[in-house]
């Protein structure tokens, strides 16, 4: 299908091990997917370390990594990520930003985020939603510079940045 999905609550299977989580995610298991798995694990060293551990015992940041790893282990052309920074410590958010920037090289990423810092560090285009409708869109570079828009829709004042 080519679409990867990381839901808001991460959706990892707590009772299964990291290995099992990854294997469930892999729709096909052959040589190419094995290679992809290796590359994915290269990106997320922690997962390799905790390969046999129960997913429920991972820390919040690691769970998030697992959730994303699961989504990209298949050949995805589109990746949907829903509020991944929620509940993560700032240093983890940094790691997350780095990860998504790497993923951007292979897939299109649609990211839903409330954390503007994260969104702006990662996004190329933006769409602002209000009441279920897109009220504004454009290049991220432009949005970063647009104080008026930011304070109107995102509640960000110059002082906060």
């Amino acid at each position: 299908m080519g679409i990867g999905f990381v839901p808001e609550n991460m959706g990892i299977f707590a009772e299964l091990t990291v290995e099992e989580n990854m294997r469930v995610a892999m729709l096909v298991e052959d040589e190419t997917t094995d290679q992809r798995l290796e590359r994915t694990l290269d990106m997320f060293a922690d997962l390799r370390k905790f390969w046999k551990a129960k997913a429920g015992n991972l820390s919040g940041g690691q769970k998030q990594m697992l959730a994303i790893a699961r989504a990209i282990v298949n050949e995805t052309s589109l990746l949907l990520i829903d509020e991944p920074s929620k509940g993560l410590a700032p240093i983890l958010v940094d790691a997350l930003i780095e990860t998504i920037n790497q993923i951007k090289e292979h897939s299109v990423v649609v990211l839903v985020e409330q954390n503007f810092f994260m969104a702006s560090s990662v996004g190329d285009y933006y769409y602002i939603l209000d009441d279920g409708m897109v009220v504004h869109s454009g290049l991220m570079d432009k949005l970063v510079l647009d104080e008026e828009l930011k304070s109107k829709y995102l509640g960000i004042s110059k002082a906060e940045e």
Partner: protein, 329 residues
């Protein structure tokens, strides 16, 4: 303090408590009788386990409560009965090989027929009522009635005698303890089934997907798996297990009758409550508890036998409603 301790060690405490309770009758019953009862209880427990495991996984994965499981149980027995009837020579032969062969054939026939029945049931009826527990109960209740009545149509309304393969009949004498052969066979069957299920669940990819689905059905679907195919498959397997249980049970009690599913369905539900939804191990533990309790009480206080398991169920509901081995749902 006690509450917190119970929450953490609840499961272990309950099992320990159960073991203690089960050793209690030794005070009142002579050792040999106790052993006989224990084996009978374990055997009965295994049979209930076969039915309960199906119900448990089906509910855990699909969130569907299948009231029709008892009818599938009965169908399994009847199909087996027909196989025996046509191959009566092998059943009555004094040859382990022939007995095992016809037994095996009966098992295969029963499981396949009932699994097919299960597939039809799932696709035609159950699929329409996903999401509404109320309608699931109603519709599977109706399905039970239809299935049981169809038994009456095809096989007649009377009780029939089920023959036991010759070499399965009788006792073994082990260290002066009389052990019923067939009961041991039941225990062995149960253990094998449990082992196979655990193997599939833990070691195969399919098993992982099922376990993942029990935890979070939607996520598995979002990952691209065909959850509906999985549902049908699991339902069919559950049905097959019930059939096996029914066949084994009919040989155990030497009879088949159309309503035989009813009592065992009740036991199965009690087991699922005690053991926890979606957990096969829970079903096993719960089933053994139910089987043993029933047999001990039946010996000591006959009229209370039916009620004791309901009491256990009520107690579990009061102190640990999710069961002994909840599957994270």
């Amino acid at each position: 303090m006690a509450e917190a301790m119970f929450r953490r060690w609840g499961r272990e405490l309950t099992i320990a408590g159960a073991i203690v309770l089960f050793l209690l009758p030794l005070i009142g019953i002579p050792g040999k009788t106790y052993l006989t009862l224990t084996i009978a209880g374990l055997a009965m427990g295994m049979l209930v386990f076969l039915v309960a495991s199906g119900v448990s996984i089906i509910f855990g994965l699909m969130d569907v409560l299948n009231f029709a499981h008892g009818a599938l149980f009965a169908w399994g027995a009847y199909v087996g009965f027909t196989v025996f009837k046509h191959l009566m020579k092998w059943v009555e032969a004094d040859s382990v090989l022939q007995n095992l062969a016809v037994f095996f054939l009966a098992i295969v026939a029963a499981m396949v027929v009932v699994a097919l029945l299960g597939i039809v049931l799932e696709r035609v009826i159950v699929r329409r009522v996903y999401g509404s527990h109320l309608f699931q109960i109603l519709i599977t209740f109706g399905a039970t009635i239809v299935l049981v009545e169809l038994i009456r149509v095809f096989w007649g309304p009377n009780d029939e005698v089920m023959t036991v393969p010759l070499t399965f009949y009788g006792n073994w004498d082990i260290f002066d303890i009389i052990v019923d052969r067939y009961r041991v066979i039941c225990i062995v069957i149960g253990l094998i089934v449990y082992g196979v299920i655990q193997l599939i669940l833990k070691k195969t990819k399919l098993g992982m997907i099922v376990r993942a689905g029990v935890e979070d059905r939607e996520m598995v679907q979002a990952m691209g798996h065909n959850i509906f195919l999985l549902f049908t498959g699991v339902f069919a397997v559950g049905a097959g297990l019930a059939a096996l249980g029914g066949l084994a049970m009919s040989i155990f009690s030497l009879q088949v009758y159309p309503d035989m599913g009813g009592t065992y369905l009740l036991f199965a539900f009690i087991v699922v409550i005690i053991g926890g939804l979606g957990s096969v191990t829970g079903s096993l533990v719960g089933a053994l508890i139910v089987g043993l309790a029933y047999n001990y009480v039946a010996y000591l206080v006959p009229w209370a036998a039916a009620g004791v398991n309901i009491m256990i169920m009520i107690i579990i509901l009061l102190i640990r409603p999710t069961g002994l081995f909840p599957a994270g749902k």
